[in-house]
Each structure stands twice: as C-alpha cells, then as structure tokens.
C-alpha cells in the first residue's frame, strides 16, 4: 500500500476510506444538485443525509441536465459537515478541465471521486451540445490514480506542490450488455486503479449473486471495495418504468407485484373516484413498501461475500434514507478516527 503524504497507510484518509478499511459495511448516499444556484437546497438535503452515510455522491449534470456543479455543491456539503464523493464525467470536460477542476476540488476539501463516462447529452436539456469524451472513465481512473500515487499530471509533468489525493471510485453495471464481459470490465477498472466501485441499482439478487460469484473468481473483491447500488421504489409505475426504460436495471416481477399489493386497498377505484386523501394514503403505502423492500435487499446484499457496503440512491427522496438505514440496522454509522496528529 502506497504511503500518503501524511505518513499513515491510508491512500487518502477520507471518512469513506477509513470506514471501508476498518471492515465496516459502508453506506454512501446520493445528493442531486438543483437546477438553480440555490445553496439552500443542498443544505436541506445534506441535513437529511448527515449521520446516515459515510459520504454522499454529488452528481455531475446527471442525465445531462444542467445543474449546479458537483464541485460547487460539494463545497457546500463540506461546509455542512458531510463528506462528498465528487462525480466527474468525461462528457463535458477535456483532460485540461478535469485536472484543473480536481485541483480545485482537493483544495476545497474534497477527498472522494467517482469517475464516469457520463450520460449522453442527447438525453438532457441541451441535446444540441457538442460532447467532449476526450477520455473515457477508465482513463480517468488511471489519470487520477497517477495524480495521487505518482504525483503527475496526465501529460507526465510533476506537480509543483501538493498533489490532489482522491479515494478513487468507478461505476459498474452488472446487468448491462455484453453480460458475460461485465465482471471483466469491473476487473479492468480495478486494474486501472479504482479503490471502490458503486454499482447500478440492484433489485434482482439472484442475478447479482451470480455476477458477484464471477467477480470473486477473478479475485477482484479483494482488490477494491464493492458497494451495491440500491434505491427505494416509490410506486409500481416507477418500477415498471425503470424496468422497461433504463438500461442495465433488472426488477423481478415479484417486487413489482409487492408494490402493486401495497396499493391494493385503492386498486378497485377508478382515477376519478380517488380523492386527494386516497391518493396521499396510497402513495404513503407504496413508499412504506418501497422502503421495506430496500431494507430487505440491504440485509440480503450483506450476506453476499465481497459486498463491502451499499450505495443508497434516494434521489429527490432523501427523507427515505433515515428509515432505510435505521431499518437495516446500520445506524448509528461507525466512527473511525484518523491516527492522531494526522489529518485527511
């Protein structure tokens, strides 16, 4: 293990790294910045997540819709006493912009980074934009690892002063195609330097267990920390939408059926017959079931060898994080202090 500049054996010493290295089952959250310059939105979401996860991912123009920058929102999250995982996509920045932004992110106190290729811009609200894709996510992982471990820019020049030290993450899509290549692609990301992996949303445990078995055969789970992606379903229609429209997401019929059953007391009524109160009660019943399903999924994921934690994505439903983390027996979150005299 490479020594960092603080002389301890952490690569970075971020809270996320400390909790994972101590062997605790980790929880990361997700915070989507607003489509505005409103810092209050970030602070409100941060308050809902603080204490319930080791760190929160700050998305980078997620689904190619312009939002407050990940690093800008990350700086506010740091002020709020919560540790960010900065998401960085290859869609909007070339290697110059990525590196300079990361120097700024480190200087502002950010210590975790998730490297992504990025949703294509045609999905978002500026579909006429020119994309960049100067690098891909694997090259980005390699570049930021070399910034930390070799003290060099992508061009090979050495830093003139403090190098940016990030705990480097990458994404995995276990059920995207070609399916049989996915464990190898994960291995390739780890070979490039990924210290942790966050997966696409997992609902199909059988399929995920099969993926993890292959990952274990490759020995990859011993070289990185794998956090299984998880997200509470809000309604049966959301479940169906994701199943049919989002690549790489498998949702078993049984789960959709459970969501339907939760709304059964209102199922006999037509749209017009449902009062406002009915709709509210049905929505609450669906949400309660969605949270319960998530809790059960976490408990089952914990049993899979090689799963080091969960990445909980409750986008625009941050209120769900508290009952899920508590319900899964993961509260309070562990505190792993840095060795004395050393700071992250």
């Amino acid at each position: 293990m490479a020594l960092n500049t603080n002389g301890n054996d952490y690569l970075v010493g971020s809270n996320l790294e400390r909790v994972l290295r101590a062997g605790h089952f980790a929880v990361t959250g997700e915070l989507g910045p607003p489509q505005s310059a409103d810092d209050g939105v970030i602070r409100k979401k941060a308050a809902l997540l603080r204490g319930y996860c080791e760190a929160v991912n700050i998305t980078d123009n997620q689904t190619a819709i312009v939002r407050m920058s990940s690093i800008g929102a990350g700086a506010i999250v740091v002020q709020e006493g919560l540790e960010p995982v900065i998401q960085m996509t290859c869609r909007d920045r070339n290697r110059l912009a990525i590196q300079s932004d990361l120097l700024g992110a480190y200087a502002l106190g950010m210590r975790n980074l998730l490297c992504l290729s990025g949703d294509h811009q045609t999905f978002g609200n500026h579909p006429d934009a020119k994309n960049v894709f100067d690098m891909d996510s694997l090259q980005l992982v390699r570049m930021v690892s070399a910034m930390r471990d070799e003290g060099i820019f992508q061009c090979g020049d050495a830093f003139k002063g403090q190098e940016p030290r990030f705990f480097v993450g990458a994404a995995a899509a276990p059920f995207a195609d070609p399916l049989e290549f996915r464990p190898y692609r994960l291995a390739k990301k780890v070979k490039a330097g990924a210290n942790f992996i966050q997966t696409q949303l997992i609902y199909d445990l059988e399929a995920f267990a099969a993926f993890m078995e292959k990952v274990r055969q490759l020995g990859v789970h011993e070289q990185t920390f794998i956090l299984a992606g998880i997200g509470p379903l809000k309604s049966p229609s959301m479940a169906k939408y994701m199943k049919d429209n989002v690549p790489g997401i498998l949702i078993p019929e049984a789960l959709i059926e459970r969501m339907n059953r939760a709304g059964a007391p209102w199922a006999g009524k037509s749209k017009d017959e449902l009062t406002k109160e009915d709709k509210k009660a049905r929505s609450a019943a669906w949400q309660a079931e969605g949270i319960q399903i998530t809790i059960e999924l976490i408990q089952q994921l914990r049993q899979i060898e090689g799963v080091a934690g969960v990445h909980l994505m409750a986008i625009e439903w941050e209120e769900a994080v508290k009952p899920i983390v508590e319900g899964a027996g993961l509260y309070p979150r562990p505190v792993v202090p840095l060795p004395e005299t050393q700071t992250a």
């Binding site: 294509h120 992508q154 995207a176 290549f181």
Partner: protein
C-alpha cells in the same frame, strides 16, 4: 465514400436568393454513388429551381453540369467558362467540392446544395452508415476492424459503457453498440483478452483537434529543378 444528403428545396431557394443565372454543378464521384449530387440529381434540382422560380414570379435561367470530381482543379477547369458565365453556382458536391470551386474561382459566388454527412458505406439499398471519423491514427487493429471512435456514441476506447443493452446503444435503438460488435467479433475470433488491455488516452492531435490537417509527400511533389 463521402456520404451526403440534399438540402431542402426551400433552403436551396433561399441560398440562391435573387440570382438570375444559376449553374448547378454535380459531382461524379461519392455523391453520385449515394444518390445525392450526381448528374441525375443535378438535372432534377435545376428543373425544380426553374419551376419554383417561375411559380414565384421571377423565372431564373438554371443550367446544370456534372464534373467527374469536383475536388480536383483539372476537372473544374473543364467547366470554367460555364462557371464564369453565371451569377451563382449551386454545388451538389460534398463540402470539399464547394470549397474547391470557391478556392479555384475567386470571383464566383458558390453555395452548397448538399449537407455532407459522414464517411461511410451503404449497408443495404437506400441505407448508408458512418464507419470512419478520419481521426488520423487508425486503431482498427486493436478493435477487430470495428471503429469505436466513429461508431460508439461516446467514442470510448475502453468500452462498453453501462448503456449497452440488447446490442444497441443507449442513445437510440437504431444505433448498434460498437463495443458489443467489437466484443462479439473478438470473442468469435478467440481474441477477447485484447479488451483487458487499458487503452491510454488518445492523441487527438492527429484528428481535427490539432488544427486543419495537411499531408505533404516530398516524393511526389513536382519541385522545379534548380539551375
């Protein structure tokens, strides 16, 4: 080949504007093969413009001619008199043809009748698809002869991304996932281990990012003998 598509008649009319004497210049090479700007299309566009101008109340004198290759001076020289005699040239060549006319005839106003789309091939009758992005540093030897620069929506060198599903790209069901194609081909040839090698960031200087490109072949140049 260079694949192009005709602009709409409305746009062509607006580009031609009030010019009275118009020469439509077709090209006998790529755009003939992709049915966008050959002699047949040049004649049709000329006739359409004539009719439209008559209907609009300002009849134009529109003629057409097609040269073997609009991108070479010698073929343009052959029609220099016709080009010199009109108010405007409507080129049905690719973007190179339009610029060749502009460059070769400094006093001629030339406008494009086509949109130049990509470097590709016909995959079936009436369907053309992109194959090459002219990046200037061919990597097809690493990818089983399938180009991810031109054919992956994100030009990934270490694909596939998480958006590959059922063989198609997340951007559209009409777009085959280049990395699925690469994976299938390398698998079938027993070379899938190639995909485990991390490809370093590409040097884009050989592409358009290094500025407009030029090739000089000293062995082929006609250099005046020194006295």
């Amino acid at each position: 080949m260079i694949v192009a598509e005709q602009k709409s008649l409305d746009e062509i009319k607006s580009l031609v504007g009030s010019a009275r004497n118009v020469l439509v210049v077709g090209c006998g090479t790529c755009v003939t093969v992709c049915f966008a700007g050959g002699s047949r299309e040049a004649a049709i566009v000329a006739a359409s413009l004539r009719m439209a101008s008559k209907l609009d109340g300002g009849p134009k004198n529109v003629t057409d001619v097609t040269v073997q290759r609009q991108c070479e001076w010698e073929y343009l020289d052959a029609v220099a008199d016709q080009i010199g005699a009109v108010d405007i040239v409507l080129s049905l060549g690719c973007g190179i043809g339009v610029q060749a006319i502009a460059e070769h005839f400094p006093n001629t106003w030339v406008v494009p009748g086509l949109n130049t789309k990509f470097l590709g091939l016909p995959t079936e009758q009436g369907v053309w698809a992109e194959r090459c992005a002219a990046c200037g540093d061919c990597i097809l030897g690493l990818t089983g002869g399938i180009c991810p620069i031109a054919r992956c929506s994100k030009s990934l060198l270490n694909g596939p991304c998480g958006g590959s599903e059922g063989g198609h790209c997340e951007v559209s069901e009409e777009i085959p996932c280049a990395w699925q194609l690469i994976y299938d081909r390398l698998s079938s040839m027993g070379k899938v281990e190639v995909l485990m090698e991390l490809q370093a960031p590409k040097n884009w200087r050989t592409s358009r990012d290094g500025g407009p490109r030029k090739i000089v072949r000293e062995d082929l140049r006609l250099v005046a003998e020194e006295d």
